[in-house]
């Protein structure tokens, strides 16, 4: 088995060629490619990189809209041994320039308008090679148009160490500049093997890809499809109606989303039920779906398996709740995925037992190589766990910073980020608990709860909410008075106009929302 772990990213694509060269590998709106065509397109990119002097181990930035070209660009870089840095297309020129400098990228593959924004303070070092999607005329020196790439030379692929660096995923950290998480070929491959195993993915599957490839769960959809010889269907638009339309017309068998997206999709499907006969499973990651939306999932997706999952970029993917437990344990994140070891640890004491809480820690082959050129931060996040020394010795584990509760069966429930726990009136209160209770009112679309220092209470509970039409604070406060114990009720509600900010992977940007609400308090 571990033999199968140690293969390069390029092999993930190329291993399909003998058996299924003519099988559809990827679909865009109005375009599709077979495995052979995808490999040839990647080969053209690889040849270009080599011609431009890029060497194995060099960092290559891929900054493209979700689609076949983006996949070809990543696998082109992997074919010639480079390290892929996928920078979300929604990131700003300033963020792109930061990542390019921090990773010392030698090549950037991007659309024409993104290149044109890299001027002035965002200009990259001279000598950077650019491969540009879009119009070829009048490109700056050093830039080559994708349209003029030479035919695939079928060059021999590089053979990198499978335990070596394959990809850097930059996370837009809540504090400070983005940090790059380093993933080995092995990390990503084991992630594909493990997830394909528990989701039961196979060659006939067609997964709808909405989540970005610069996000571990989004990337994992692509890698599981290449591993099993399936098909990935790209939807770059995050409009729920377009997502569902594409799921229908392309007969997709799986959809992966994050909570704000499921929130929108469920509201759409309640409004307009849609038959999706090919759909076998849906998966959630990136946070907890509000309980009122969770309850509606089986109704709007009848007969579909619902998987609730949890992952950390630093350990790629960590836990899942099997669909047969969904009805009984709505909201649990379940247990470790195959090949991972996940524990809840009580600091200084040991492993948390049934009914207890602890920090989620993750050990095993999915543990990443740490943060790019930040050994101190890495040593803080990924270090041995004395509480698990009897099982793991001094093997480093990822400390998630997430507090989880263990139930009587050993399944895990997310409680809170440890640094977001609210201490009020002597209670330790999870913001998630407050948010769930508020969501249950059916009066809000999004809610974020947080603590504010308070002389009398220790911390006071505050909640930022986006009201549904016809809802207001009076109605919500009345609901909270009925549904929550006194210490849990928000002392203050902050109405949020419009939609709350999201991170590039579509999750609620909690730190931004909380700091905006705190700033408004001070005015």
């Amino acid at each position: 088995m571990s033999d199968d772990f140690d293969r390069s990213m390029w092999r993930l694509l190329a291993d399909n060629l003998p058996a299924r060269p003519g099988k559809t590998a990827a679909v865009d709106q109005g375009r599709a490619v077979t495995y052979a065509e995808l490999a040839a397109e990647a080969g053209r990119v690889a040849d270009w990189l080599v011609r431009r002097g890029i060497r194995p181990g060099d960092r290559v930035i891929v900054h493209l809209r979700k689609g076949i070209d983006e996949v070809a660009a990543m696998f082109g870089a992997w074919k010639m041994g480079a390290v892929v840095v996928n920078v979300n297309i929604r990131w700003t020129p300033a963020q792109l320039a930061y990542v390019a400098r921090d990773s010392r990228a030698r090549a950037v593959i991007l659309p024409r308008n993104a290149l044109e924004a890299l001027v002035g303070e965002h200009a990259l070092p001279k000598g950077t090679a650019y491969l540009v999607q879009g119009k070829a005329e009048g490109l700056v020196q050093g830039a080559d148009p994708w349209g003029a790439l030479a035919a695939d030379q079928a060059s021999a692929p590089d053979e990198p160490d499978p335990r070596g660096l394959a990809m850097i995923i930059y996370t837009s950290g809540s504090t400070g500049a983005p940090k790059g998480v380093m993933l080995s070929h092995r990390n990503i491959r084991v992630g594909a093997i493990s997830v394909a195993d528990y989701l039961g993915l196979e060659e006939s599957d067609r997964l709808l890809s909405v989540l970005p490839y610069s996000f571990d769960a989004g990337l994992n959809q692509l890698t599981t499809m290449l591993l099993t010889g399936g098909t990935v269907v790209h939807q770059p638009l995050t409009m729920p109606a377009e997502i569902i339309r594409m799921a229908q017309t392309e007969s997709v068998t799986g959809i992966a989303g994050v909570p704000p997206l499921w929130n929108q999709i469920v509201r759409l499907l309640v409004d307009r039920p849609t038959d999706l006969p090919a759909l076998r499973r849906i998966t959630n990651t990136g946070g907890k779906i509000p309980p009122n939306i969770l309850e509606l999932l089986p109704q709007v997706f009848p007969g579909v398996d619902i998987y609730l999952m949890y992952g950390l970029t630093e350990a790629f993917r960590s836990t899942y709740l099997p669909p047969e437990k969904f009805a009984a344990k709505m909201g649990s994140i379940g247990r470790q995925i195959p090949n991972a070891q996940v524990f809840a640890v009580k600091h200084g004491e040991g492993v948390a037992g049934p009914g207890e809480q602890g920090e989620l820690v993750h050990a095993g082959p999915l543990v990443s190589m740490g943060y790019w050129e930040k050994p101190e931060v890495t040593a803080q996040k990924i270090r041995p766990c004395p509480e698990l020394a009897h099982l793991l010795g001094d093997e480093p584990v990822v400390w998630s910073g997430d507090l989880v509760r263990v139930d009587e069966d050993g399944d895990l429930w997310f409680v809170s980020r440890m640094d977001e726990m609210i201490k009020t009136l002597g209670f330790r209160l999870s913001p998630t608990e407050v948010e769930d209770a508020i969501s249950q009112s059916g009066l809000v679309t999004d809610v974020v709860a947080f603590g504010v220092e308070d002389a009398d209470l220790g911390q006071a509970v505050h909640a930022v909410v986006t009201y549904l039409p016809q809802a207001d604070e009076t109605a919500l406060a009345a609901h909270c008075a009925r549904a929550m114990p006194h210490y849990m009720r928000p002392q203050r509600y902050h109405p949020w106009q419009g939609a709350m900010p999201r991170t590039a992977s579509g999750k609620l940007d909690r730190p931004a929302i909380i700091s905006a609400a705190k700033a408004a308090l001070q005015n």
């Binding site: 297309i89 929604r90 729920p240 939609a499 900010p501 999201r502």
Partner: protein, 78 residues
């Protein structure tokens, strides 16, 4: 209330920070010029200025991909 073409174009160009020329038939979302975050702002602008309620199922490329399509959609609601 009514929503004029000029008003809508002005909003998209200024609020959503688009500095390329914008015509009635310029594709906004299918080309990636605007993203989902911009969509949310655009919907509330349309709702406020045209005095309409946009149903979730109506948020499609057909109705929102161009300025002309948005205006035609708003008219169909009257």
């Amino acid at each position: 209330m009514s929503l004029s073409k000029d008003e809508l174009i002005r909003y998209i160009r200024s609020e959503l920070n688009i500095d390329t020329p914008l015509e009635g038939d310029t594709e906004l979302f299918s080309t990636g010029m605007l993203d989902s975050v911009a969509m949310v702002g655009l919907i509330s602008f349309v709702e406020q200025h045209a005095g309409v309620r946009v149903q979730p199922g109506d948020v499609t490329l057909d109705n929102f991909d161009t300025v002309d399509a948005i205006l035609a959609y708003v008219q169909s609601l009257d």
